[in-house]
Amino acid sequence: MNSRERILGRVRRALADAPADEAPIARDYLREHGRRTVAETVELLAENLADYRAVVHRTDIEGLPGVIAGLLEKRGASSVLVPPGLDEEWLAATGVPRVADRADSTPGELDRVDSVVTACAVAIAETGTIVLDGSPDQGRRRITLVPDHHICVVRVPGQVVSSVPQGLERLDPARPLTWISGPSATSDIELDRVEGVHGPRTLEVVLVGQGRIEST
């Protein structure tokens, strides 16, 4: 008997006397916490991102290239990783040399790149989380991990949901997902949170409105 059969056999014997369970799982919990307007949800996202030390910027689609160029310049970045499907307009205002996200780049090569700019799949307001799903405008998982500076663009309000349940509904489990809530951190020293360990130590989130988000 192989271990697969052995383990499954043990499970079945262990459950032989267990009572049947037919009742559906009680999902009485909330789909979202509190009632908010769209603008309030975006505001909450910004607050919670900032609470966990992400740097939040707000602009509209016309202002975006200027904001990204400014952030790269302020950082002093001498190279920026760019996923293949990133809207070229976004980087139109910067002259920082681009590094393409290629399958054959070594981790060592990625380690020499200063910054990375990506889009995201969804952002969750209640937890201050952005989720990447490896789409062409976000690239491979490692490009948002090895460089020390990540600029993530969130289209608001379209990509923003209120809660974790709503976020999961929008995501495809078949894709490799990375949920990011603030820059990397640790609570390992005396159970106190310290920002900045292995992942990017600076996370900048640019919330890009459709021009009139403040008033909706």
Binding site: A18, R141, S184, L191
Partner: protein, 492 residues
């Protein structure tokens, strides 16, 4: 479980020693009190905590009730997504599988994400014996590994160390393992984190094999989930060419939707955050993104034996948040090492004796490592009634009875150490079933009460050393009742 813990002294012995260590007590008190207050705040933020907790309990119970079905479904979906599934009945088999998988890659070193399952089976030691170096990359695990120490907490294995001690370990040991600690390293947490970043980065960048556990496995989609903070998990899960995940069979949830409960309750219960900094999910392999080869090792190692116990099986709901450790008055004083297992604290006191059996001195003593105050049950995000299981396990230790070990039903003999207790209980049963004798005895006891000792002689001495013996009343209750007509006469 891990050989590291063989021959551990019983809990009271180890705890007595730990309680005498004032640095340890100070560190533990500071850390557990810090996190307690934060957790309470994080939980208050969600108004539906009780409903989330109940749903989490029900999802886990339902999964366990149909575990055979969900294991087969998981195997099918992981395989369909490009993963390779292995089954390990015990620690030795799991270690053998992982060792062979690493050898097949031709590599001599692996990077590891913090994983309770691999600690439980003693994987690092097994790999080392075959000449394969396993590097722990979680900051706290690194502190433990560099300090040649044992973990003392589920979430924060180096909780017994304060920042000064961590600085000393880094300054002394890092050069032995790779990049030395920076000159003039101070004990500020930010500098210590920076030192770990520099030390581990070279290992991440050259790693070809990563080893992880998982917080959840979704049966319907074949998705694995790792919840972490530092980014070391992401490094290990995405940079190597081969990923090997060792996961206990109880980590399954049936559906993708089920994650909506646990991704809300786990971060708040463990690090007291709305959300932990990084959560990675992966389903088999993804073309040109992350490891090209993915192995999943499904681990039993006592879990099916635990499942066979109808009271004890609820321990398998555990999502390893460690909230129960942080609120436990016993853990706060005794620390994690006294529990003699990678699973310390209240959850360890019910998990270790079930996974390993109650045969050893330490495992037989663990169900007693509690005051039964119930704080652990209060905070548990999957509502494990830890006191209930503790009492159940105490009964098993004292009375013996039928249990399942390695899939077979065996009958445990009553523990030797409880002979006096059993004799006392037998005497009590006889007395209570013989009212005449009871009355005579009670009257004799009341009349002779001036001569009663303050402490018990012989085997009872240990018991009365820390307790007051209850005084015998001047008159037995039944005599008083008859004399006063149940107190109606007002005569006391």
């Amino acid at each position: 479980m891990s050989g590291t813990y063989l021959g551990m002294p019983a809990f009271p012995v180890a705890a007595r020693e730990a309680v005498g260590n004032t640095t340890l007590r100070g560190n533990l008190r500071h850390a557990t009190h810090t996190i307690r207050a934060k957790r309470a705040k994080a939980v208050t933020e969600v108004s539906d905590w009780a409903e989330l907790r109940e749903a989490g309990k029900q999802i886990k119970d339902h999964t366990l009730r149909h575990l055979d079905h969900y294991l087969e479904q998981l195997e099918e979906s992981v395989t369909a997504a490009g993963g390779i599934v292995h089954w390990a009945a015990d620690a030795a088999e799991a270690n053998e599988i992982v060792t062979q998988l690493v050898k097949m890659t031709g590599e001599r070193e692996v990077v590891k994400v913090k994983s309770m399952a691999t600690q439980e089976i003693g994987l690092n030691e097994a790999l080392e014996a075959e000449g394969i170096h396993a590097y722990e990359t979680d900051l706290a695990e690194l502190i433990v590994q560099l300090g040649k120490d044992r973990p003392s907490h589920i979430l924060v294995p180096a909780i017994h160390r304060n920042r000064g001690e961590i600085r000393d370990i880094f300054a002394r040991e890092m050069s032995e393992w790779g990049r030395p600690a920076p000159e003039g390293l101070t004990d500020t947490p930010a500098e210590l984190a920076e030192a770990a970043r520099l030390h581990l980065r070279e290992k991440f960048l050259r790693a070809k094999v990563g080893i992880s556990g998982a917080n959840f496995m979704v049966a319907e989609t074949g998705t694995l989930v790792v919840v972490e903070s530092e980014g070391n998990g992401r490094m290990c899960l995405t940079l190597p060419e081969t990923l090997i995940s060792v996961v206990g069979i109880e980590k399954i949830v049936p559906t993708w939707q089920d994650l909506e409960v646990f991704l809300q309750t786990l971060p708040r219960s463990s690090t007291a955050e709305r959300m932990n900094p990084y959560t990675s999910t992966w389903t088999g392999t993804t073309d040109q993104d992350g490891p090209g080869t993915f192995h999943l090792v499904l681990l039993d190692n006592g879990r099916t034996d635990t499942l066979a116990d109808e009271v004890g099986r609820q321990a398998l709901r555990c999502i390893r948040c460690s909230a129960c450790l942080n609120v436990c008055p016993v853990y706060e004083r005794a620390g994690g090492h006294a529990y003699g297992s990678v699973y310390p604290g209240p959850i360890g006191a019910i998990l270790s004796p079930q996974l390993r059996g109650t045969g050893s001195e330490i495992d037989a003593s663990l169900p007693y490592a509690s005051s039964l105050c119930g704080a652990c049950y209060e905070v548990c995000p999957v509502a494990i009634d830890i006191p209930e299981v503790l009492v159940h396990l105490r009964e098993r230790v004292v009375q013996g009875g039928e249990v399942t070990r390695e899939g077979n039903k065996v009958v445990l003999r009553p523990a030797k150490g409880h002979a006096a207790e059993r004799a006392a209980m037998r005497a009590a049963r006889w007395a209570f079933t013989h009212p005449g004798a009871l009355r005579t005895g009670q009257r004799a006891a009341s009349r002779s009460r001036r001569f009663h000792p303050r402490t018990l002689p012989g085997p009872g001495r240990a018991w009365s050393a820390t307790r007051e013996l209850p005084p015998v009343p001047a008159e037995p209750f039944r005599d008083w009742w008859q004399r006063t007509h149940g107190g109606k006469d007002g005569d006391r």
